[in-house]
Amino acid sequence: METASCPVACAVESLSHTRLEECYQCGKCTAGCPMAAHMDAPPTRLIRLLQLGETNRALRADSIWQCVSCQTCSTRCPQKVDCAAVMDALRQLSYEQGTASPAERRTVAFQKAFLDNIRRYGRLNEIPLIAVFKGQVFLRDRSLPFLVSDAGLGPQLQKRKKLHLVGEKVRDREVVARIFARATGSPASNGGAQ
């Protein structure tokens, strides 16, 4: 696809290593997608939107955040369109451009909190992840049921010795911060996902 007339579609092709024009709309991706029944724009339609230059609709779709990255679409595509990678590319672009669907902000907040967590510790620390994620969602949604929805799990996990009050940190956290800074193109001092 031409560069000048389709900046988003070209970025999607470059990030996903896939050629969108290869898709002939057979619908096999959507037929196998476990989330398709809930999606505003299931995989086949998302690819079509990109082919037609309707990139803003693709970037704002709920479906790109409902996708569970199961890889069924890419596995079954007869044209070798890496649809799951297209989903990743759309998520990244939509996140960077701030066009992620408000209806899916919890999922976006979770992915961001996860990356911030590993940038800080090098390994996932579950308790701070949940605290930050739930806290951020609560500040925006003011939903008390969501805030406390998993509170009962704490004691259950503790009983099974699955709760780590003090999480693990890698020794060389400086290098982790520098990797994040370089990969995300942000200054090392506050290098992060965005």
Partner: protein, 281 residues
């Protein structure tokens, strides 16, 4: 056998029962695990969703550590970690410029040649005949639905393992230790993966279908090889039961639990007493 071990965050976190099970089971089979020193998170779904450079760089750092610590093969029991390591290795093998860039980003020389094995491949390396010979307690009563989920077999171009639509490798191992795996339809359907916290409804809906199909085909347990699948199907099973309006009470074992039980290891040794669904034998 000596294996470089990349446990990943889940196995050091709330899926530490999987780590315990693997260590106990593999020790009984004379496999020693050398955990990679100072390994970092692979980035999982969050990295590949938000930043594709990070999704290569984080696994690349671990591949570089493995190389620096003298390992050409890495055992990564979490399929998410395994897939991310393989994806990064392949991307770098195909693109020398990317490999050079990554070596600079992660401050260590990365080669794209590392081999990454999942738990099924480790059991296959040990050999099904050896497993069969080591059985002390044949699992005649066990009728597992072997559940592969997504990333053990998909995408096939990356993981190059078994058949993406109709895998059989886990059944072969379960059968070798005396279990009677059932035929069923949902062995490669998604459980909802990392949506446990962010979109719980998705997990309840997808995981309910898996439990329903396993039970409908006569399974008396599920066998998994993924920490995330275990969280969704075991830890969330009570919530799934409430969602589906029926009881399952279906134990969910890791593949290493099944082999370990046949080797005569106890629930305390394997950590199956720490699962959420525990059925008295």
């Amino acid at each position: 056998m000596n294996l470089a071990y990349y446990p990943g965050c889940a196995l050091h976190g709330s899926s530490n029962d999987y780590d315990q099970s693997l260590r106990a089971c593999l020790k009984a089979l004379d496999v020693t695990l050398a955990e990679l020193d100072d390994w970092i998170c692979c980035g999982a779904t969050s990295a590949h969703s938000l930043n594709h450079m990070l999704a290569i760089a984080l696994p690349a750092r671990n591949l570089a550590l493995a190389r620096r610590q003298g390992h050409s093969d890495v055992f990564a029991p979490c399929p998410m970690c395994s897939m991310q390591l393989l994806r990064a290795a392949q991307a770098m093998a195909a693109d020398p410029a990317l490999r050079a860039e990554m070596s600079s980003i992660v401050e260590a020389e990365v080669d794209g040649g590392a081999r990454v094995a999942n738990i099924i491949q480790v059991f296959e390396q040990i050999g099904l005949d050896r497993l069969k010979a080591a059985v002390k307690q044949p699992l005649k009563e066990l009728k597992p639905a072997c559940y592969y989920g997504c990333l053990l077999v998909r995408p096939p171009a990356v993981v190059e393992f078994d058949d993406a639509e109709q895998p059989r490798s886990m059944e072969a191992i379960a059968a070798a230790v005396g279990a009677k795996p059932v035929e069923w339809n949902y062995k490669t359907e998604c459980c909802g993966a990392g949506m446990t916290m962010a979109a719980t409804g998705t997990v309840l809906e997808l995981s309910a279908r898996i439990l329903e199909n396993a039970v409908a085909h006569g399974a008396n347990c599920l066998v998994v090889a993924c920490p995330m699948c275990h969280v969704n199907l075991d830890m969330k099973q009570e919530a799934i039961e409430e969602f589906a309006g029926r009881n399952f009470q279906l134990p969910v074992y890791y593949l290493s639990d099944v082999v370990g039980m046949a080797l005569g290891l106890t629930a305390q040794e394997l950590g199956t007493d720490r699962h959420f669904v525990v059925v008295e034998a």
